[in-house]
Symmetry: C2
DNA sequence: TCTTAAAAATACCATTCGGTATGTTTTTTG
DNA sequence: CAAAAAACATACCGAATGGTATTTTTAAGA
């Protein structure tokens, strides 16, 4: 029972890439089995429905990525404000899996699925909550260490920063250029400095 | 030639509502003709393809709405920073067409269509450009009148503010609650105040 | 090694999709 | 009013959709 899990993982990874590029609804099972070269029988052996696969993508692909790329960097950097800024800078400018023309996978998923599939909604909410917690904790850390003012509302700032990130990803998609990222990052820095 | 245009408008309006709620791809022609009680023959008399209708929605429904709800309020309010804040407050908290659970129609459209349909992309880009110009002009106005610091980069601030709006709309969808709007608006005010 | 269950392949299905062909009914206009 | 064009109605089409039933192959454990 090793090759089977490999097959399953291949499906999840390739499907994720397709969905990231094309969207969930417009990525058909036939698309997926064509690019993975896995037959329909194999696909439906591993997943009861398309939505079960979608959920598996969120939990088994997106979640680990979130931890590695969105949360860990916050914890390794010592200065909290630098941590947040550098995270965004890395995600937007340096990460070479996330493409400007395709936006942020989690954000795309949310926009597409959230009003209609409550299971997706729940899974995506958990994802976002984790990121929220991590950013909030980073800010609280800064308040304790004195690098951030004590009157700063950590949760509010987190929401503000997160919304900026999601929004600029969407704007980047529209303009298909990282130029807007640069503008965003400059103002983000100014905003973050105002929390000192 | 009057009833015909009414039919056309009905299709556009009802289709827009459906798309706002369900998304473009998942709203079928059959959905549209069912809710409008217009036959397929009538539909295809007015629009060659579904995409032609989609474009018409952007240009004939979204664009006027943008002007009325997103741009004009900026020009009537005298204080520029108040204008921007009040605009966002109205859009997020008071506007009763835009629902928190469905997000922002323009943002939804962009997220869904922009990498795949260049015509949609172009139309949506024009839309966004108009809003960008209006906000930028408002900030420049503030710089001239002295209510905004001269060293403020108007274009950058515009991008930052817009991305926040789009992002918080998406976050609102996810949480299905205006609570996040309140947090966002508080931090927006703080950010805008820092431009004085 | 042989059995048995897991894993994968094949062929098919009902439904829905966007779109068309061909009418019929209204309006407009000369 | 009559003719012609505009506006709408009906029936249908091929392709694609998510999913299933059934068979075949592969691999694990006794």
């Amino acid at each position: 029972m090793k090759k089977a899990e490999a097959t399953r993982l291949t499906i999840l990874q390739k499907a994720f890439e397709l969905i990231y590029v094309k969207g969930y609804q417009t990525t058909s099972i036939d698309d997926i089995i064509a690019t993975t070269k896995v037959t329909k029988g194999a696909f439906y052996y591993h997943f009861k429905t398309k939505d079960e696969m979608g959920l598996a993508i969120i939990n088994e692909i997106l979640k680990p990525t979130l931890t590695n790329s969105f949360i860990e960097p916050l914890q390794t950097e010592e200065n909290p404000l630098d941590a947040i800024y550098n995270l965004m800078d890395n995600l937007l400018m340096k990460n070479d899996f996330l493409k400007v023309e395709y936006g942020c996978p989690a954000s795309n998923f949310t926009q597409e699925m959230t009003p209609w599939n409550s299971e997706f909604n729940k899974a995506l909410n958990e994802l976002t909550q984790e990121w929220t917690k991590a950013i909030t904790a980073t800010i609280e850390r800064g308040k304790k260490s004195g690098t951030i003012r004590k009157d700063v509302n950590a949760k509010q700032v987190t929401i503000f920063v997160m919304s900026g990130y999601w929004g600029i990803r969407n704007l980047g998609k529209l303009e298909n250029s990282k130029k807007v990222y640069v503008s965003y990052l400059k103002q983000l820095k100014i905003y973050l400095d105002s929390l000192k």
